[in-house]
Assembly symmetry: C2
Homo-oligomer: 348 residues x 2
């Protein structure tokens, strides 16, 4: 592991769409944001819609008639890949907090092991939104020359104190839930309250104030609490957060959440050589696309500009796109009309 410790025979879960060509050089490797699984799009084996369904398929921006698309579940997550919720073969027990410190460099290496296993010689591109953008960047730094292109969306070269503060508070919400039990909660009784609170804070930081103003305004719910006499669901925005918290929790393992959240905080390109400039200087791609959103306050637009500028190099084509999408950090999941043409053009 990047910061010490080791795993015995870890598993990396992945899904693929399309076919590897004869030259074994048409693969695209996608790293995910913090919480999604490798199921980025539907397939014959799993027809449920994926988290980037509209982006992957025949005739879609990531065209499966042309490219071999791979999406990995991050190491440390809980959707098939080894993580704190997996059994440590050395003890027969769940890792829980004995899992070594996780870094996005480890997540990147997980992706690397998958493409090696699949016999990929050279990647067309690595692609990542949010935390996935940092994992993809770590991949480009650790394995220079493997990939022709790099696509980063709503990400950045390092975690800054504002997002560290938010994630730190999310982790504390989980850790302070008595049900967390120092990480030793029973598998069928996770610290739901902490997870729900953390998810709500996540939802608040993933979208934008302006979107909510237009979408919810001061609309009241029809709940009996809506008269303001309780402290429950008075406003539509509160019901919306409640709905999303209910959907999320139960799926994601709390200890995995802690590890992945902390891995995002720890990420800093400057650790690769002494400065952001030197770290980014190790990237060897020929083309890069950096997309940011002005309403994103988790990975603010100036971080994306810093990334795009830092990747500038002779003979390299770097496109920096500043979107005004209303949906803030999550725009890459929602504002498909803006993202589809960008991704399609890059892969055309």
């Amino acid at each position: 592991m990047h910061r010490g410790g080791s795993l015995v025979s870890p598993t990396i879960a992945y899904e693929t769409w399309g076919k590897l060509n004869q030259n074994r050089d048409n693969a695209v490797l996608i790293f995910t944001g913090m919480s999604p699984p490798a199921h980025a799009a539907s397939s014959v084996e799993d027809p449920t819609p994926g988290w980037w369904e509209e982006m992957i398929g025949p005739g879609r921006p990531l065209d499966t008639r042309r490219y071999f698309i791979i999406c990995v579940n991050s190491l440390g997550s809980c959707f098939g890949s080894t993580g704190p919720a997996s059994i440590d073969p050395r003890t027969g027990e769940l890792y829980r907090l004995t899992f070594p410190v996780l870094s996005l460099e480890d997540v990147a290496r997980g992706g690397y092991e998958v493409i090696k296993h699949l016999g990929v010689n050279r990647l067309k591109a690595t692609v990542g939104p949010s935390m996935g953008g940092m994992s993809a960047l770590a991949f480009e730094i650790l394995f220079p020359g493997m990939s022709e292109g790099f696509v980063s969306m709503s990400s950045g070269p390092r975690a800054l104190p504002f997002s560290i503060a938010l994630r730190s508070l999310q982790r504390e919400m989980i850790r302070k839930d008595p049900g967390w039990m120092g990480g030793d909660y029973p598998r069928d009784a996770v610290p739901l309250t902490g997870m729900r609170l953390a998810r709500k804070l996540g939802m608040i930081t993933y979208r934008s104030a302006e979107e909510w103003r237009l979408r919810f305004g001061r609309e009241r719910t029809t709940s009996p609490d809506a008269n303001g006499y309780g402290f429950g669901m008075t406003f539509e925005i509160e019901a919306y957060l409640e709905h999303h918290a209910n959907k999320f929790t139960g799926q994601f393992d709390p200890n995995c959440y802690l590890y992945l959240s902390r891995a995002s905080d720890l990420f800093d390109v400057a650790e690769h050589g002494g400065s952001v400039e030197i770290g980014l200087g190790k990237v060897r791609v020929k083309r890069a696309l950096i997309v940011g959103v002005t309403t994103d306050f988790l990975f603010p637009i100036y971080q994306q500009r810093e990334l795009a500028e830092g990747l500038g190099a002779p003979g390299r084509e770097v496109e920096f796109v500043e979107l005004n999408s209303l949906q803030g950090h999550d725009s890459f999941l929602v504002d498909m009309d803006s993202y589809r043409p960008l991704i399609a053009r890059f892969f055309a």
Copy 2:
């Protein structure tokens, strides 16, 4: 009470500086943000520094040689004024959640009762930052003609869904703390965990990402946890939040926090007549100063502009100042070099 219910002989705590003149028309009434007490500045009776120490005193922007300054502790708070942590004389028990729904209109009326009691004929101005700005605005709408001027800082004409979401989550942190006990916690064992989490989220929303980037960057603490192997204090920004959470909690009663927080959400000038425009049209001051900060995302700058524009009227002088202070919502407490001249000029 504005939304129903009543209190028997409520108390409003206040402090004053300077002297009421013979015409009884040199008083300035200050409403506070959500958490401060009426102790805005030091005095002979209480020499500890107040929350707006640099602003009030002889020769200071709120010049006590000229003005009679009054600051009230909001109704519903716990620093002398009647609130959920006070004893209900009808039962001999603490109000707790039997306290009626609190509105900022009630806070405004509390201020009105104080000036009546003090024999003030006419106010030079009402002044309020943050929640206090909304309370002062409620005062101007409920008691038109009482006041010559109105000063609002980092406030707005209504609560919007983004800030409602944040406050709702803060309230949920407290309510989900098992120590809250449905509001019936013992007086010497408040739900500290929930209060600490809520305070940390408050701190995150009161300042700005840019301030923290410049001030803390990715600096590590020297705590044993700083190597990243725990989930505790790794980064300076985490230690900073911890420090502020420790300072705050224990002072503020959790039920009072819930009521004041909810009162902020419920505030909407449009309830006074049907629209923000009509509501603001009821204000009768001759001069208004509206100060906003571009880095404030709790009361964003466009809300301040909306307030300033809505107050525009023939023969009224409305000054709108957009500050670029780094400190976000809390700038009025910190960036004194920007605020002092503004307040001094208004009161000169």
